[in-house]
Amino acid sequence: MRKLVFAVAALALATTAAFADVIADRQAVMKENAKDVGTLVKMVKGETPFDAAAVLAALTALNNNVQKIDVAASFPAGSDKGDTTASPKIWEDPAGFQAQVDKFKAVTAAAVANPAQDLDALKAQVGAIGQTCGTCHEAFRVKKG
């Protein structure tokens, strides 16, 4: 009996620890995305000058990062618990969440295939990317106190 309790407790601990890693990993991905998007937004806001090479580099890095998103690996059942702002809706509506991830992949892929050559084009591109961020965060992220 004692062994069983120990085994269950160990398993529970291991699971929590595993989710902590999953959560940390997906937060790291989001931070990377924010860094690349930041490069683009700063140009849109006029804080840095438009630079086509830097646009392509940021879009490429963003797209590489986004194409790697694997919902099953990064959002296993139970990983809504812990230090995360992932909404339970991710697991209540997995198809809806996957559709948002696919949309994100399509938007960044399209941007890399046709990177902005001037500021106006960049504004449109950043607008499309930002809207994709917002639509997914509207439904699938929850702020916690």
Binding site: G38, G130, K143
Partner: protein
């Protein structure tokens, strides 16, 4: 026996007095002549800005509407709260199902006093507690704009509320506590016009306090905790503290706030989320001056500790 009869009469009299007091305290009160005179004639172009600042389409157009569909105010969006489910009505200019038959005076009474054309109280899910602080001329502008929108037939379903919240007359008592046209944040004489304009937008049409200010057990705003953040009305999340003390925005400059409202990106390049997504889309339609005014006001208000750590009732809806 005589004693009992006297007691019964006294009880009846008291009950009657109570009923009379309830009746008197809950009479739907309409606007006075002075405010009606201040409405003016209204300008549709200016009214469009108020329409966007208020985000009217977010509740009164069908959910997720884009483009011209945003201007079809057929209603139907549900707000699930601890009191029950509120359903936004049709406010398109349709004469039968919408508010096409409403005069400017009717419209202003709804916006500023929470009273419908038929004289009944409106539920404060329609945030007239905020709109009461709007300038009458802005209300007239909004009316002028809304009359230009397409009339759409179709009535939205009724609210589905639990007793006693389903008794409209009771809203009169609620208004005694919470309905005021006085500004929430008193600003000193000589406050820059920009901040005053921001106050007008945030406290009035923008109705930011409806989500960002915690509510009392009766569902009224706790203005001592103005914009200090609150538990979300729907779901398990929280709405951030947007006073200068708030963790989410504490390091933000005025231009950071204005930029967030325009682009949806935080200074760390995170994106807007939750119900703010819809609000930010509306804010992006305002002028840069409006967004800067909102930012200036948010930097000028008193800082407050988080309003979502208190003991508000958890929504059961």
């Amino acid at each position: 026996m005589a004693v009992l009869r006297k007691l019964a009469i006294a009880a009846l009299a008291l009950g009657g007095a109570g009923a009379a007091a309830f009746w008197w305290l809950t009479v739907p009160e309409k606007l006075g002549a002075e405010t009606l005179a201040a409405l003016g004639t209204g300008d549709a172009t200016r009214g469009q800005r108020i329409f966007d600042a208020g985000g009217c389409a977010s509740c009164h157009a069908k959910a997720k509407s884009e483009g011209d569909a945003r201007l079809q105010l057929v209603g139907g969006v549900e707000l699930k709260t601890q009191f029950g489910t509120f359903v936004a009505p049709n406010i398109s200019p349709d004469a039968k199902d919408g508010i096409g038959g409403w005069s400017l005076e009717d419209f202003a009474n709804a916006m500023l006093k929470g009273v419908a054309r038929d004289g009944q109280h409106l539920y404060p899910a329609f945030p007239y507690t905020s709109y009461a602080r709007m300038k009458p001329a802005d209300v007239a502008d909004l009316y002028a704009f809304m009359t230009t929108l397409p009339p759409i037939a179709g009535k939205a379903p009724d609210h589905d509320l639990a007793f006693p919240f389903n008794i409209r007359r009771g809203i009169g008592l609620w208004k005694q506590l919470y309905l005021s046209d006085e500004p929430v944040v008193a600003l000193a004489a000589g406050t820059p016009e920009k901040v005053l304009h921001g106050r007008n937008l945030v406290e009035g049409a923008g109705h930011c306090g409806e989500c960002h200010t915690p509510r009392s057990f009766a569902g009224g705003p706790e203005n001592a905790q103005w914009l200090a953040g609150a538990k979300a009305a729907e779901g398990d999340g929280v709405v951030p503290n947007i006073t200068p003390e708030g963790r989410d925005m504490s390091g933000w400059s005025e231009s950071d706030i204005a930029s967030y409202l325009e682009t949806g990106f935080t200074p760390e390049f995170d994106s807007v989320g939750g119900t703010m997504v819809e609000v930010q889309k509306n804010m992006a339609r305002l002028t840069a001056e409006d967004r800067e005014a909102i930012a200036a006001y948010l930097k000028a208000i008193p800082g407050r500790a988080n309003g979502f750590s208190g003991s508000q009732p958890k929504p059961t809806g």
